[in-house]
Amino acid sequence: MSRRDFDPSELGGEPLDREAADELQRYARLADGDASPAFADRVMAAVEQAPPPRRGFLAWLRLPSAGPMRGLAQAVVLAGALALMAGGMLAAGELARWLRGSNLGGSPSPAPSESFVPSPSVSPEGSASDDPASPSESEPEASPQPSGSVPGSASANPSAVGSAASSPSETPDDSGSPDESETATPSQTETPEPTPSATPTQSP
């Protein structure tokens, strides 16, 4: 890597006061030099005592296929990981949909069950109450029961009331703010944290 002097045009936009940049450039030019000739030997001596690096998942995927079996294995593992990920996302979506459905009393999913359950009791009553205009079999679907049963469904399902109260606090969590806070924190998983155990070996 060669020395790259700072050019304010790198930042674009409005002009930059160069004072601090110039000061840093001056300091960097002064603080120049090379490590001692034995530096690489010292590093390698320390590396000899360190445990060998283990290939992480990302590094394993990065590996150029040394043979057809390895490439095939990589593809299989990658496909498995993608399938697991897709399955997880589907399950999460289903769960979210179920939660949302249980929170709203008038949502479409509970309504058919509510209209379906009273149907056996309604149709005998209808037939017994001298109402010849009411069709006997197709009435459950066409009956105005769903609209009338909406309050009933809400009262018949007390757990839905309780969970509906918590729904407003859940929905804002889904829309996380993606900006500065996320970009400002570097990922800790991939860039290793320095550990104090890496003590340097003493130069002779």
């Binding site: 601090a20 300091y27 390698m44 290939r55 590094a59 924190t185 130069s203």
Partner: protein, 173 residues
């Protein structure tokens, strides 16, 4: 090269060390201010990188990843050193030895610059150090920190503005 090291080829790592030792050492020297400390931190950084090579994503140059480890380690060590009692002040780097007064002033100013950068909050400190001490391009910094390029530019601009305020306050008697 990283794959060769991960396959157990230590000679490949030696090639990496010899290729990157200059820039890693200089970055450490600019943060630590002392050649001996800079060598120690650079060595620690290479060992950390060796052990953690399996977590390298492969996006961006390997040297940039090394530099990020080195600058973090150097700032960490600098913080520990400042916590301890410093028995000897920093020697000026590259100052004329024939003029003791000039050497003293240069040493003081260099120390001010180093400490001002070290006192910057993150992420400004990291971006400033990688750009000016590690001599990385903004594209390389964006790649190694996994931040958008415009975010890196903003961090560098704000970092320089804060640095200017700190240095101006230091220069005022």
């Amino acid at each position: 090269m990283a794959d060769a090291v991960l396959d157990g080829d230590r000679d490949a790592f030696r090639i990496l060390v010899e290729r990157e030792q200059g820039v890693v050492y200089r970055a450490c020297l600019r943060i630590m201010g002392r050649p001996h400390d800079a060598e120690d931190v650079a060595q620690e950084s290479f060992v950390i990188a060796y052990r953690s090579l399996g977590s390298w994503r492969g996006d961006g140059p390997l040297g940039a990843w090394l530099l990020r480890i080195a600058t973090r380690q150097a700032f960490r060590r600098l913080g520990q050193r400042r916590d301890a009692v410093e028995l000897s002040p920093d020697l000026p780097i590259g100052a004329p030895r024939s003029d003791p007064l000039a050497a003293t002033l240069a040493g003081e100013r260099q120390r001010s610059v180093r400490l001002a950068v070290a006192a910057l909050g993150e992420p400004y400190r990291e971006v400033v150090a990688l750009r000016f001490f590690g001599e990385l391009t903004l594209d390389e910094i964006a790649s190694v920190t996994q931040r958008p390029l415009n975010t890196v530019k903003t961090h560098l601009r704000r970092g320089l503005e804060r640095l200017r305020g700190t240095l101006a306050a230091e220069a005022t008697p």
